[in-house]
Amino acid sequence: MSQVFHDIEKKILVTLQKVPNQTPEQLSINTELSIDQVRRGIEWLRLKDLAIVDESQKITFSLGLNGLDSLKNGLPERKLINMLKDEPKTFDQIRSALSGAGFNVAIANAKKNGWIKIEKNNSDSLVSIKEKPIETPEEKLLSLIGENSITQEEVTNPLAMKILLSRPNYIIQTSEKLKTISLTDAALSLDTSISSSGAIDVEAEVPSIFAARTHPLQDTIDEIREIFVNLGFSEILGNMTQSSFWNFDALFTPQDHPARELQDTFYLENLESKNPATLSQIKNVSSSHNKNWKYDWKLSESQKMVLRTHTTCVTIKHLAEQKPENARIFSLGRVFRNEKVSYKHLVEFNQIEGIVIGNNTTLRDLMGIQKEFYKKLGLTKIKFWPTFFPYTEPSLQTMVYNEKLGKWIELFGMGIFRPEVTKPLGIDKPVLAWGGGIERIAMLKYELDDVREFYNNNLSWLRSA
């Protein structure tokens, strides 16, 4: 059976059969593969005992700044000799011609080479040529390297190299690891042309693509809606724009209540509902307000149009119109608060609210539905605390333990509609209500700490969430 070779392997084998011992870089040029592909191919061949990888260190030398200067103008000692060609010179004269450290180096090396003699005068020393200066091994080495680089093997006089290396900035020594790839005997005799192929580089990187998807917040909304339906609740829809009558008055919120003010509620400019409710509904609600809150209820206040501040206005209107004997219904949708937008507050968010009327309408039942709801969301550590809502009594809130945050988080609220809410609308039985904001739950699910992310429609998040 012939071996199956990847195209990359095949190209490397063929190239090495022609020219043995190549570096990966050479192979990359000769095979026209990327360096990463070559490296992968070599690794595969090595594992199959077809390629041998020799690792060695390659040391090369080239000239540094001083070396290059000397190549052009001569070493400092040579410069000195050239100056002395015509006549001897004093230290002062030499010093002014050879600036800086050059002076000491030139004198020391020329003396060591036996090129000069120094006579001391009263004030200065006089330098003159002693014998004819011949080319030194260092100078030969400098010309050998020239403007290129040479390998260690090419260095003819190691002692001269040692001397030059000891002088600053003359020689730059670099070392790199070198891989040489050669083929084993088995590989050399392989006939790659008859081995089957068609294989591809299965480990190569591919471009990212993104799945089209529904919005993560919409997924959470759908999941919660599904749970409500499973718990026996039917969905009703209602408008986001509502009269103050249904948003506030029908829910027993007095007309001078701070929650009704512009700073908490969005009122619609120049829009009002002429007939927000039936005459008897208006009459009964108004007298409940007058009697219990002791103020003068005004129809005009109730006609002002608002963006609903909760979905309760939809459920209460449904109850008042349908007066069901036994029902579980829910309403889900956007609600609005005139707040400053921040990482924890939006002006517009989704709320769900379910109500139960008829059988099994005790506080224990309400708590039982909650517990089941959270269980279906995978939240099992819950407890109930008392709280206050203007239109329910008693009112509870659920606290859910979040393992990741290590603390209790307030989620849905619940309660029984106050008789002051239900009686004027002709509802005689107790009505259980429960619900809350959906973004809070979605934030836990997607581990977000900024609620605005849901509405930013940031593609990098939508594509990866």
Partner: protein
């Protein structure tokens, strides 16, 4: 929700010596109080606006004593009848601020922490039941600086006195113009020529309700006797407010002396308890637990109410400051609190109804599924948007604009009448992301009707360099054919600045126009800084796939 700052050691002392820190922290939530933060011994607590008595540690301590079983039942308030304290209400106040009530708290002592808490309590009361001081407002005064009897009357705006926290005399007009309280609450007085004022018998100004007290009667830690006066436009509301302050000062150790009030429909407050007789069966039915009437009585007493069983009924005595209790339902809540919510076992009864999604939800979801199948990512944008995105950058007709009043956010002022502008805005914020970008959104749009019409729209948008009209038309027709078998056609339409000339159309189904489709005009794309081709369409789903 209002917030109160407490020191845990102070609370422990007020509740009783040997209650532990943990006991207090555990029980606070069961009074309906949320612990907002806890740093060392200082805790911040959110309380409900219906329980203003929880605005100080005195009130909270009273509640804790009940649930912890340390002290139960009502704290009875005794008011000494005889005394020198009196006030006469002049008929001139009738049109401005007709009612005044009050009392004198004696032989007590407040430290600086308590005074600070009382000031905060006043502000919370002013905001909540006082409706920003309009309905009722309080003033607390050092009674020893006052010569009784007092007069509640009106003065002209030229009248001068030295207001609280000031050392110089100022006229009423100056106070209204120059002080923060004057600027904030001057609206209550409006442009009335004369303003309410309280004088003592030596014609010293005591208070200028509902704006500011006089510096003369400043309450300090040396004050032993306090005059509490509450003025307002509703008699009941003024007494509500008074009763809360009395309950708090009573816990702080004060005694009470009557302030005799006469004149002009005003009368001396009695702060009488309310008696409510009710059938305990009602509570058992609401909670879902058979509970004996005597057990309920115990629960009510733990909530600092008084109660006794009489025959088959419970007689409950409710202190004046618990004006949040309207009906037996409120008493049921008190019983739940006294019993302890943690002691009520949740019960899952089988549902006798079958749940069902709304038709609109089901069909909108079908459309979304098809859009995802065609490779589109769902976007979600706010219904409240900005004029800039909705009309200016898209050069759309804004004659039917629907605005909200006084939005706190520039980006959320206008109700959208179309989904496409926000999708263009989404593309604009994602120009650094890889293309093609394909988005869709389904959502409610608003138009003026009776008074407002809401319908559900679908908008789809494609952005990349080679996209064109044919591609978006194919997408649009596929979306309507899949599941719904709706055949649509496109007809040349009159020019529209959103789209390129000659490259847009109206979408028709059965001779009815349901939307628009086309290549977005390059000027519009420039406004959104989008540097590639964009095509899109928007149709009204309401009336097409559901009613």
């Amino acid at each position: 929700m209002p917030v109160v700052e407490l020191n845990i050691n102070r609370i422990r002392k007020l509740v009783s010596g040997n209650v532990t820190r943990k006991q207090i922290l555990d029980v606070l939530p069961f009074l309906g109080l949320d612990i907002e933060s806890e740093v060392g011994d200082e805790i911040r607590i959110e309380y409900s606006p219906n329980r203003p008595d929880y605005s100080t540690d005195y009130g909270i301590a009273t509640g804790l004593q009940g649930l912890l079983g340390i002290k139960k039942g009502i704290q009875k308030t005794y008011i000494k009848k005889k005394g020198k304290f009196a006030i006469k209400v002049d008929s001139t106040v009738t049109k401005i601020r007709p009612y005044l009530t009050g009392i004198v708290a004696t032989n007590g002592k407040l430290d600086d922490v308590a005074i600070k808490q009382l000031m905060n309590m006043q502000e919370d009361l002013h905001f909540g039941i006082g409706r920003k001081r309009k309905k009722s407002s309080i003033g607390l005064h050092d009674a020893d600086k006052i010569s009784f009897p007092l007069t509640y009357t009106t003065v002209s705006r030229e009248h001068k006195f030295t207001p609280l926290n000031s050392s110089t005399e100022q006229s009423i007009d100056e106070i209204l113009a120059n002080t923060e309280v004057g600027q904030n609450y001057g609206y209550v007085i409006g442009d009335s020529k004369n303003v309410p004022i309280i004088f003592d018998s030596e014609q010293n100004t005591i208070s200028f309700p509902p704006i500011i007290n006089s510096a003369l009667t400043t309450v300090t830690s040396n004050t032993r006797n306090i005059l509490i006066e509450v003025t307002g436009i509703d008699k009941e509301a003024t007494e509500d407010m008074l009763s809360v302050v009395v309950s708090i000062l009573q816990t702080a150790g004060f005694e009470f002396n009557e302030l005799k009030i006469t004149g002009n429909k005003n009368s001396t407050p009695q702060l009488k308890e309310k008696i409510m007789i009710y059938d305990p069966k009602f509570t058992s039915e609401i909670i879902g637990i058979e509970m004996s009437p005597s057990n309920m009585v115990t629960c009510l007493k733990k909530c600092r109410l008084d109660a006794s069983v009489k025959g088959k009924k419970i007689t409950c005595v409710i202190p004046r400051y618990r004006f949040d209790i309207f009906s037996p339902m409120d008493l049921t809540e008190e019983i739940v609190l006294g019993f302890g919510i943690a002691n009520i076992e949740p019960k899952l009864s089988p549902s006798t109804t079958i749940g069902q999604k709304n038709d609109v939800t089901i069909k909108t979801k079908l459309i979304s599924q098809t859009a995802v199948g065609l490779g589109f990512l769902e976007a979600m944008n706010s219904s409240l948007t900005s004029k800039k995105v909705l009309y200016e950058m898209t050069k759309r007709d804004s004659s039917e604009i629907i605005s909200v009043l006084d939005s706190k956010s520039q980006e959320h002022k206008i109700l959208r009448d179309s989904l496409l502008p926000s999708l263009l805005d989404n593309l604009s914020k994602n120009i650094h992301e890889s293309y093609p970008q394909k988005l869709f959104e389904t959502g409610v749009v608003f138009s003026k009707g009776k008074p407002i019409h809401e319908s559900i729209n679908l908008a789809v948008i494609i952005a990349y360099k080679d996209t064109n009209y044919s591609e978006i038309k194919a997408i649009m027709q596929s979306l309507l054919r899949t599941n719904f078998k709706i055949n649509s056609e496109t007809k040349t339409s009159k020019n529209n600045e959103l789209f390129s000339i000659g490259r847009h159309a109206d979408i028709f189904v059965n001779e009815n126009k349901i939307g628009e489709i086309g290549e977005i005009d390059s000027n519009i794309l420039e406004n959104f800084r989008i540097r590639t081709s964009v095509v899109g369409f928007e149709i009204k789903l309401s009336g097409l796939i559901f009613d």
